[in-house]
């Protein structure tokens, strides 16, 4: 159990608030990037939502997942709420997985991101194109869906590093080191 002083608690609150502000700045910037230009772009908000989910509790994850989902819907012109539902669901699952079974490692994050973004892209292809039986619809899968998925997975590497950097400075530590315990105890005794 971590021993906290009042000053420590204040710093903790400040760091937590600042961390979440930075998360949402990153989300906002990614949304702007997604809505600019005419080229194919990675769905940046998927790896961001997942990266946040693996480092935070389920409540924060689900809200962030839903917000990212709504923003994807706006940027990609999808039914408002469609991606929000998908991403909120996956954020809860991922948050639980990392809390209970998986270690917070780069490889695990990449595997999870690759899987979730593939499912998201596949569902998008299925419900927005395949279901309507357009001629040559498989070309959309080959030329758009797969490329977007690959771009998303590649972009996840950079997003992981950015989130890792934010967490490195602003994420409160779960456990004290032996030295910290000794120092804190000594301070309390005095």
């Amino acid at each position: 159990m971590r021993i906290k002083t009042t000053r420590e608690q204040r710093i903790l609150y400040f760091k937590t608030i600042f961390r979440w502000i930075l998360y949402y700045v990153l989300i906002f910037v990614s949304f702007i990037v997604m809505t600019s230009g005419t080229w194919l772009k990675p769905v940046l908000l998927v790896p961001i939502a997942l990266a946040i989910a693996i480092n935070n509790n389920q409540y924060g994850s689900v809200v962030t997942g839903a917000i990212c989902g709504f923003l994807i819907d706006i940027a990609c012109g999808k039914l408002f709420g469609y991606n929000a539902v998908i991403l909120a669901f996956f954020c809860i699952v991922v948050s639980l997985l990392f809390e209970l079974y998986l270690r917070n490692k780069f490889v695990n994050y990449m595997l999870i991101t690759a899987a979730v973004s593939y499912i998201q892209c596949r569902l998008d292809y299925r419900f927005y194109y395949k279901i309507w039986n357009y001629d040559n619809v498989e070309r959309i899968f080959r030329k758009y869906t797969l490329r977007i998925w690959i771009y998303t997975v590649i972009s996840a590497v950079f997003i992981y590093l950015v989130i890792k950097l934010i967490n490195h400075f602003l994420m409160p530590k779960n456990h004290l080191t032996i030295e910290e315990v000794i120092t804190t105890k000594t301070q309390q005794n005095q």
Partner: protein, 284 residues
């Protein structure tokens, strides 16, 4: 002095001066052309003069640069500032020029079709991310009297239709989308009818598809297809695009054509929405 005036030397010099005056008078009578001697000298010395002039100019230039370095430096700085100001003015001017040209085009729509009720020109906010059919959003919405299913056009031709309208933003589905079908007719013959409906393959090239053409059609590449206006969704006789190529449909029972839209749908910057026109189908 008297001795000199009486000497032969003086007479020779005087004669020479007279000769020179004579040459001068002769030169005057030539009416602008050089006398042959001068011409010869000019020709003979030309290359040397050229080289020497070049050298001296370069030398003078270098000296001038050293002497007036401060002056040139200040002049350069002032000119740089002036160029900066002029560039910003030029940018503003170009932007205004583009805007005026676009507005002029939109005015021409109103002049040609008096029955149209047009929205104010709308800027394209951006294309919908990763959409194969190039849907895009515009910066006007229901606050500007735009409703769903309003035709979206430019002066050159039809662009698409509004599908989702919020107060200040609307989403436009383009004619590249298979979800939008438009009855079209050839403008020259006014006889060959077909249905314009986007397709996955054609949309990749920025084209759309004309299908259900009669086997006996007389269409040829370059023919302009226009709206028929029968559906009440689009105004009559509005340009859609030109035929690129014609081929048999997969069934072989009818023909289809590749249509190049009148405007490059992948590079739009501003459009206009026709909010009302004669023959418009009223919403239920």
């Amino acid at each position: 002095m008297r001795e000199f005036l009486k000497s032969t030397r003086f007479k020779i010099l005087l004669a020479f001066l007279a000769f020179l005056v004579g040459i001068m008078i002769y030169a005057v009578t030539k009416g602008g052309y050089s006398v042959s001697g001068a011409s010869f000298i000019n020709t003979a010395t030309k290359p040397f003069r050229k080289v020497s002039n070049k050298i001296s100019m370069r030398f003078e230039h270098k000296i001038d640069k050293i002497n007036n370095a401060d002056k040139y430096y200040n002049e350069n700085e002032e000119l740089k500032k002036e160029i900066g100001i002029l560039n910003s003015q030029l940018t503003e001017y170009e932007a205004l020029k583009t805007e005026v040209e676009e507005l002029r085009k939109f005015v021409s729509i109103k002049e040609e079709h008096e029955d149209y009720v047009l929205s104010v020109p709308c800027d394209v906010l951006g294309y919908v991310a990763n959409d194969p059919f190039r849907s895009f959003t515009i910066d006007k919405g229901s606050a500007d009297d735009i409703k769903p299913n309003c035709p979206v056009v430019t002066a050159e031709g039809l662009v698409g239709i509004t599908i989702e309208v919020s107060e200040h933003v609307s989403t436009v589905r383009t004619i590249l989308s298979p979800d939008l079908t438009i009855a079209a007719v050839c403008s020259s013959s006014n006889a060959d009818y077909g249905i314009i409906e986007g397709s996955v393959k054609e949309a990749e090239k920025g084209y759309t598809k004309l299908s259900h053409l009669s086997l006996k059609n007389k269409l040829k590449p370059g023919d302009l297809m226009i709206t028929t206006g029968t559906s009440g969704l689009f105004p009559k006789d509005y340009s859609i695009g030109k035929i690129k190529s014609i081929d048999y449909d997969t069934s072989g029972l009818s023909m289809c054509a590749e249509i190049e839209p009148c405007i490059d749908i992948t590079r739009l910057t501003s459009v206009i929405v026709i909010t009302d026109f004669s023959g418009k189908k009223e919403d239920d």
